[in-house]
Symmetry: D2
Subunit: 385 residues, 4 copies
Amino acid sequence: MSRKLRMGMIGGGKDAFIGAVHRIAATMDGEIELVCGAFSSNAEKSKISGAALYLPEDRVYGDYREMIEKEKALPADRRMDFVAIVTPNHMHFGPAKLAMENGFHVVLDKPATFTLDEAKELKKVIEQTGAIFCLTHTYTGYPMVKEARQVVASGRLGKIRKVYVQYPQGWLSTYREGTHYKQAEWRTDPARSGISGCMGDIGTHAFNMAEYVTGEKMTHLCAELNIVVPNRLLDDDGMVMMKFTNGVTGLLYASQVAAGEENNVRVTVYGEKGGLEWRQEDANSLVLKWLDQPAQILRAGADYLSTFAKAGTRTPPGHPEGYLEAFANLYMNFAHTLRAKLEGKKVPEEWLDFPGIDEGIRGMAFIEQVMASNASAQKWTPFEI
Amino acid sequence: MSRKLRMGMIGGGKDAFIGAVHRIAATMDGEIELVCGAFSSNAEKSKISGAALYLPEDRVYGDYREMIEKEKALPADRRMDFVAIVTPNHMHFGPAKLAMENGFHVVLDKPATFTLDEAKELKKVIEQTGAIFCLTHTYTGYPMVKEARQVVASGRLGKIRKVYVQYPQGWLSTYREGTHYKQAEWRTDPARSGISGCMGDIGTHAFNMAEYVTGEKMTHLCAELNIVVPNRLLDDDGMVMMKFTNGVTGLLYASQVAAGEENNVRVTVYGEKGGLEWRQEDANSLVLKWLDQPAQILRAGADYLSTFAKAGTRTPPGHPEGYLEAFANLYMNFAHTLRAKLEGKKVPEEWLDFPGIDEGIRGMAFIEQVMASNASAQKWTPFEI
Amino acid sequence: MSRKLRMGMIGGGKDAFIGAVHRIAATMDGEIELVCGAFSSNAEKSKISGAALYLPEDRVYGDYREMIEKEKALPADRRMDFVAIVTPNHMHFGPAKLAMENGFHVVLDKPATFTLDEAKELKKVIEQTGAIFCLTHTYTGYPMVKEARQVVASGRLGKIRKVYVQYPQGWLSTYREGTHYKQAEWRTDPARSGISGCMGDIGTHAFNMAEYVTGEKMTHLCAELNIVVPNRLLDDDGMVMMKFTNGVTGLLYASQVAAGEENNVRVTVYGEKGGLEWRQEDANSLVLKWLDQPAQILRAGADYLSTFAKAGTRTPPGHPEGYLEAFANLYMNFAHTLRAKLEGKKVPEEWLDFPGIDEGIRGMAFIEQVMASNASAQKWTPFEI
Amino acid sequence: MSRKLRMGMIGGGKDAFIGAVHRIAATMDGEIELVCGAFSSNAEKSKISGAALYLPEDRVYGDYREMIEKEKALPADRRMDFVAIVTPNHMHFGPAKLAMENGFHVVLDKPATFTLDEAKELKKVIEQTGAIFCLTHTYTGYPMVKEARQVVASGRLGKIRKVYVQYPQGWLSTYREGTHYKQAEWRTDPARSGISGCMGDIGTHAFNMAEYVTGEKMTHLCAELNIVVPNRLLDDDGMVMMKFTNGVTGLLYASQVAAGEENNVRVTVYGEKGGLEWRQEDANSLVLKWLDQPAQILRAGADYLSTFAKAGTRTPPGHPEGYLEAFANLYMNFAHTLRAKLEGKKVPEEWLDFPGIDEGIRGMAFIEQVMASNASAQKWTPFEI
């Protein structure tokens, strides 16, 4: 199949931060090209966005239904292979379902859906259609996060005991939703974001990180959420005590009112023999700490890393790669997997290392259980799906 | 009063880590000299320790009762002014009470006592005797922790919203109390440490840090403790969700099984306008983070610091001072305060900046409430004294 | 001009590290597409590389002459707009000259040419043809390096006194040119690299950085080079004392035998009132140090940065961008400038902030003068072009 | 010998930064007590300083000659054992010589003397009297610097190739010698400091560090010094290219006008197999970098360190020790060595690890050769003593 994979985009018009990120990430490795889009629910805006992206006019659509219908009608050597859906949460399920039911594969921004039920329903659609589905939990695309998972899985740290994840941001420290700031508006709006603000937006990332790196599943949680900024409608801060399978315990905190923080994702794991720490602020390093030996700094691009980490690095050690490359790794693995499927080839396990609907369902369950625990006077709430 | 203050020591014999620390800290600034000691409950061991410290034989005692009695009998120009008590927790209350009742001032290692009741009783003794009393919560002796408190108090961060404190250690990751390792033995022994291990030993430091830096008082807590290492008798790991006065919320975690960690004390505070972070691993820096301005790195020794921080630094910026100097700052402030009292002088507020019995009582209450919350199925336990 | 700019590539076949970097960088921002290439002097290899890049067969050429000729013959709405030349140094001048003389613009990997004379000749070609020319000194593409230059230019540091630049690598610590490692082979081969190894390859980057950030020009130098690894033909290590215009002095060192280093580019500048430091290992931060105030950490993406820095960041603060994005910034500015020229529009100054032939000539002069100084017994050699 | 060693101090009155440092360092480990002093050439000032240190009046002297004479006349069980000389450079030789000739051992602040000839003469006095002599090059007292030397000596880095040392300070960025600032006055005064300012004061530290860590001796140098601040009389900035025995080459720079820097001592060494880096700003860590393995962070206090490093740490890992403890390590080793001599015992090699007169002579030669090279138009000046 000597061609690039063809991507259509739903959402991601001019002002949308994450749409541009998806486009850079998708096309970075030369495996995917953007061929069409329905960039806004406003047809005029969609047209302007498409033109700015140098798309031909006839591949810029007024809404996602039109796009799916018309692309489906195109000849196989022109029509898109998959859609990237980058709309607010309430507009995830519908486009994803319709796309898959019409033969298109899907890359979907997180959290998976508006409700847990939608996520479960989406899983059925995936199973019925056989579509390849990728959920963009960006942080697990970092090569040194992949390495962290492999270090744990290898048993080098011994049995895992503790996991701490944090995700503090400061950008919602004031009432920015009242300032015509689009990002703040929809992310604090229950009608578009869902039942949770901070926990839905970034707590899910932290939760996904904890399960991804440890390989364990949460079994119980004890959450306390806050609406710190007056008049805000959704939580903007929270903390969660957690129990996982195999006796692992830990903490998660996420905040959008940690004034002065940017995007300070961090994960720390301790086992019987040692620990590991990864911080997005030093994304190309993974620190291993040992009981009786000097700590080690593993570096992206190095020969001694696992195939999972090596597959996610484009340059030799010392050439820092960042958020866009981590995001691109999700698309790269998705693309390799999709291409292998289209070509009927076997997929190496490192290419399958991208989040899918099961992570999406767990993320939605996390949101619902965190809200339930927050409302409860009991210490522990079981994590159920 | 043209002489050094004279210190006697109770505990702190040859193998005791913290005894040597107290001696270095007490004498560092040339205001205090060690003149006598009852270094062990074993008279022979006490004698050997005293000799190694070049003390005259007649000032090395077989037990603390003998020391207090005989020192009291010495002429005023020879006898000790105060005692430093560095025994395990179960041996704090008795010596402290006896010393004060016999006219000696007291420096006491933390936690204050074996039980909360003892701590309350000790407060009465202090009030009755008028003794100067210092509790060695070392970490609040660091100049940049003092600065952190002043930054918060100044209102520069706006109203405080969040506080996170952590204190992970890894030294009890294995069952070291079974290896004739004295430090591990008594700190995991309920008969000598009290009802809590990790939370009593280091959780209290973290709790003290949170209240010291924010200036707020804990009102509710939700704790979950673990005994991670099999056969251990006391908690070696735990996490606490916290509510404070004035709407501040936060998290505390402490662990002695964080394999690979040394003594990684960290405190992070966020207010409306910015945040601060201090880490013992970079003890001479205090990072201030701002909503709309570049972060700043305040440095120990700098001219722009508060008098509280400047009083706790001996060298110009760039000459790192550490744990021993932080410890010495407690003794220095205690010594200045004691000397002023003896000379009938007024004490500047920066000298009064050392922990006393109120911090001791709150620390003991923290231990008891953490244990209560851990045993409770309710999410929130009120913090009561 | 509602279309992407069309790029052809000379060199950059399958095994070439820098070819892939150029392709990612060029296409990252959606302004440029790769339409053709002569990826190798071996026609068969070129074909294979082109196929792997999903190029149509008729746009993959056997050599650069063929490419330039045939592309020129294509209709205007299909033919490439510019070439990216990513061959070893001895193959820079010929293709660049031919391309420009046939109406194509040029992006050229550094150092500009094989000799200083070639670089001077190239400048004439540029002036005669009016071509837009970009030399890829990557490190000045980092937003925080751009900010560093603006901070200096703004006078906030006062008159500049000192500049230190370092570029240690460790990858040539052993005789890798003897192991069929292509990167090592040509970079240590005088026939392909020129008269210098380390100084030509990475010393020129450091030199460019020093002049870019300070805005000063070197006037004298005192260099000492080494061939550390036995049997190597070119310098693999060196140090240079430097004098600049306006009394600035400084140091440069570069090494390819700094075992354990990756790509540790660093620049430090001191003025009367303060200093700045940038390290590639923490590329999204710029530290400003002040005589009497706390140091500040400026962060990529922040609102308080100059337009030059802001134009080179794609994501909000806290989403690390790296080497590929810095490289992409060169292409982005080149593309904006080229597009403006093609559209007859005015170019904002921040888009003109990319290295050109004058930097190329100075870099080649640096190589020649460093070799001359190394051979001289005199301390100071004037920097002449 | 069951008593503390008795120290007298020459210089170090109230305003002298380094006097207080010496007193803290000397007494920190309980092996030494201050018994007398001639703290100023002004007898009245000396008296006031002595009183502030709680010394008996009859042990505070009007000048060093009086002190040496009168202490010598005291009975053996009262008189001082050694003197610490902390005067400006022009007052080093006289007191040191007189003290040794009268049977006292000597600790001397660096640089050793006012001239190289004096240093050579001092060596003869040491040899004739058999005095124990310690020169306080503080930075080699840091445990992780000691470890660095041991790592190199062990051969783990392979044959050493490169050494870089830096010592930037910013405190003389303005003409502070014109502001009645005593530290600035004498350090910029040729009559008290000698022929060099910056190189004599801190360049000698950096030079000593380079030789100490690598175990090599400088053979050639090429220096360029600057007087950056107008009207200053001595160099305040400089850089030196260096050649050492066994083919090691490197760079040294030192500056007192690096505005915003505090005391940023750093040493970096590269060998065939790896490198090491130590920075005073992170003094408790030593980073080892390896060609093909993850970098390691060695930490003060850890069990895996050499006996040399372990002997210089008082607390477990994670309790930061700093400048004062490094300084105290010099005194501790000096004291152990002196005590062993007095007791006729053998001295373990880790106690002998403190700088002596040979380092002092080399330091003075460094000052003279740097000045000579600076004045020379030749690139390389041989390092001769």
